[in-house]
Structures are given as structure tokens and as C-alpha cells.
């Protein structure tokens, strides 16, 4: 990997963060907001994946499902059951939003695990927007549905009167930290896993260590597949939890 910048110091050079660089696909130059970059490519691929899984997979509409249709129905049932269990039956009308989030994150995470790929969800810009969308959606929905009663979320009525203002401050802070932790969790997990794999790959340059390095990469890769799915699941389930707060703000 690009050793021309730092490579003069030693033979072992790690550039674990190079894989996250946003670069234009065609030609060099500055990255404007409309430039077609590797971000565009991998997001488009995730759209293709979604269409392949959920549209092409279910095109048979068979009574006895084929393999692809089974997977599509399983995904549908998984998210549907999640929102029904966590948020409640009245939240089922927000199912398409939640499903969009889940399917996008799961596909981005999984596509990011392909060698030479770019992980869109490892960028704080992407996950931050996702988390902010959830945050704004939940806050606006909470006020629209419950009016000022939504503020009861911060007023812990089960606590003694004396500590309630203090708790309100804490609850308020924790409410506004939600999008931060929500986004950094996903981006951090993705970034950490890929960086660790890249560091192990850097060790492979030493012939004696390379078998261990390959083994370690294999093990980390297995873990990363698990993490890729679990983080999508966690992001979605936290969205469901926040949505529940908006719909039933009883604390």
C-alpha cells in the first residue's frame, strides 16, 4: 500500500485508515457534493443488493417460497417482529422507515466486508445523518403525537420531588447524547474492525509472522461478519426503542 509517503522509516508501515478515503471514481480533483465517488458506487451497490434480495427475490410470489423468497420473507419478518415486540402494534405504520434503515445498514456493512471494498457506514458523516434522521423523526413525532406531554419523558414522576430537577437535566443530556452514541457506535464498530484487519494485514509483510497474521485475519473476519449484522440489528432496535419513547412517553 501507498508507502511512498511514509515508507522510508521502516519496512513495517501501517495505513489502516487508507481504506476509508473518499475518492472520486473518475479522475482526480476535489470532492464536490455531486461528485461520483466510491461512496456513490458502494451505496449504489447496496441499492442493487436490496433490489436483488427484496424485489427480485420475491418476484415469484409463490405460495411455497423459493430460497430467495424465503430469505426476503425472513428479513421482512425479522424487522416486523422487532418493531412489533419493542415498539408495539401501533408502530407498525413506521415499519417501512425502520426497514429502510435496517436493510441499508446491513447491506452497507456486509458489502464493506468484501475485499477492496469501501464501507460507507464506517463514516461518521453517514451514520451521523442516519442517527440525526432518527433523532429528528422521533422528536418531531413525539411532540406531534403527545404535545407537551412528551416532556414527561424527562420528568421522572416515580422519583422523589427533590431529585426530579437533577434527573431532568440528566435525562435531557442523555436524550441529546442519543444521536451521538447511536452514530458513533455503528461507525466506530465498522471502523475498528476494518482497521484491525488492516493492521494484521500489515504484519503479513514479515514472512515469519505471516501465517499467524493470515489466521488472525480469518478469525477477525468471522467476528466482523457477526458484528456487521449485530450493529445493524442494534441500530434498528435502538430506533425502535426511541420510537417507543416518542409514542408512549411515560417514564
Amino acid at each position: 500500500m501507498a508507502t511512498e509517503a511514509h515508507g522510508s522509516e521502516s519496512s513495517l508501515v501501517f495505513h489502516p485508515m487508507d481504506q476509508f478515503k473518499v475518492t472520486p471514481l473518475f479522475g482526480d480533483g476535489a470532492v464536490h457534493w455531486y461528485t461520483i465517488t466510491n461512496v456513490t458506487l458502494w451505496m449504489a451497490l447496496s441499492i442493487v443488493g436490496v433490489i436483488l434480495l427484496l424485489v427480485v427475490g420475491s418476484r415469484g410470489r409463490a405460495m411455497v417460497p423459493s430460497k430467495g423468497q424465503s430469505v426476503a420473507e425472513l428479513t421482512y419478518g425479522f424487522v416486523y417482529k422487532m418493531i412489533e415486540d419493542v415498539t408495539g402494534k401501533d408502530a407498525v405504520k413506521y415499519f417501512p422507515y425502520v426497514m429502510t434503515l435496517f436493510i441499508f445498514i446491513v447491506f452497507s456493512n456486509m458489502l464493506g466486508l468484501l475485499p477492496l471494498s469501501f464501507t460507507t457506514t464506517s463514516h461518521i458523516a453517514v451514520t451521523g445523518v442516519l442517527a440525526l434522521l432518527v433523532f429528528l423523526f422521533v422528536t418531531i413525532l413525539g411532540f406531534a403525537k403527545n404535545g407537551t406531554k412528551f416532556l414527561a419523558l424527562f420528568w421522572v414522576s416515580s422519583a422523589p420531588m427533590a431529585v426530579r430537577p437533577l434527573l431532568a437535566v440528566i435525562e435531557l443530556i442523555s436524550y441529546f447524547v442519543r444521536p451521538v452514541s447511536h452514530s458513533i457506535r455503528l461507525a466506530g464498530n465498522m471502523m475498528a474492525g476494518h482497521a484491525v484487519i488492516k493492521v494484521f494485514a500489515g504484519f503479513a509483510a514479515i514472512a515469519a509472522i505471516s501465517p499467524v497474521s493470515v489466521l488472525a485475519i480469518t478469525a477477525m473476519y468471522g467476528l466482523e461478519i457477526l458484528v456487521a449484522f449485530i450493529q445493524a440489528y442494534v441500530f434498528t432496535i435502538l430506533t425502535c426503542v426511541y420510537l417507543k419513547d416518542a409514542l408512549h412517553p411515560v417514564h
Binding site: 500500500m1 501507498a2 511512498e4 509517503a5 485508515m17 487508507d18 481504506q19 476509508f20 478515503k21 473518499v22 475518492t23 472520486p24 482526480d28 480533483g29 476535489a30 470532492v31 464536490h32 457534493w33 455531486y34 465517488t37 466510491n38 461512496v39 451505496m43 449504489a44 447496496s46 441499492i47 436490496v50 433490489i51 427484496l54 424485489v55 420475491s58 410470489r61 409463490a62 405460495m63 417460497p65 423468497q69 426476503a72 420473507e73 421482512y76 419478518g77 415499519f95 417501512p96 426497514m99 429502510t100 436493510i103 441499508f104 475485499p115 477492496l116 469501501f118 460507507t120 464506517s122 463514516h123 461518521i124 458523516a125 453517514v126 445523518v129 442516519l130 434522521l133 461507525a187 471502523m191
Partner: protein, 178 residues
Amino acid sequence: MATETHGAEAAHGAAEAGMPQLDFSTFPNQIFWLLVTLVVIYFVLSKIALPRISTVLAERSGTIMNDIAAAEELKLKAKEAEEAYNKALAEAKAQAQQIATETRAAIQADLDAATAKADAEITAKAAESEKAIAEIREGAVESVKEVAKDTAKEIVAALGSSADARTVTAAVTARMKG
């Protein structure tokens, strides 16, 4: 990895080589394409994929319900048929029993008649035989009397005394009776 664009890297300088996530110049680009992606996925899901899958699932559960109901009905029918069959079987059994009883009674009657007839015949024959035996016995007694009379007369004569025939007869008769 696939970063062959050293020009951009050189333009950013050494500081930005560290963490691409904090390179704010790429944020508008990422956010723009993310929003485009989300909108596309949302429309694909809400217009095509989700309604289709939910109809398939609803249809399937409906079909399963119908099938279960049909199976229930068929089961009921099978039960009815079994009951009818059992009833028919019981009837046939009763009929057979009756026929058997009747036949047995008829046979018994025939047998009784035959037995009675045979008994009567046997009785008649036995009476006849008894009569014959009685006659024969009478005959024999008579013969014995004659023989005894003659024998007694002869014995008496042999003993040297004459005996009145009537006395001998009386004595023999008395002996025979004793």
C-alpha cells in the same frame, strides 16, 4: 486500499492523511449520496417490495387457514362415514345373530321331533320285545314245570313208590312258586 489518486492526497496534505472520517470536505458528498440512497431504498421498499411480501405472507396464512378448515371438515366427514359404517356393521351383526338364532331354533325343533319319534319307536319296540320275552319266559316256565313234573314222577318211581300225578303237580307248582 484502492486509492490510486495520489493527487488528491497530496492536495490534502499530511494532516488529513490520518483520519478520512474527519475530512470535512467530503461530508457534503457523502450526505448527498446517502440521502439519495435512502430515498431510493425507501421507495423501492414501500412501493414494491414490502406490499408484495406482505400480500404473499397474508395469502399464505389465509391459504393455511383455509386448508386447516378444509381438513377439519374432511375429518368431520370421515368421522360421520365411520359412524355410518359402524352402524351398518352393528345392524348386519344383529341380523346375522337373529338368523343364526332362528336357524338354531328350527334345527332344535326338527331334532326334538325326530328324537320324540325315535323315542316312541324305541318304546314300542321295547314293549314288543318285553312281550316276546314274557311269552318266552312263560313258555320256559311251562316247560320247566313239565320237566320238573316228569322228573319228579320218575324220581318218585325210581324210589319205588308210586305217586299220584296230581300231588306231584301240586308239589312242583308249590316249589316253583317258592
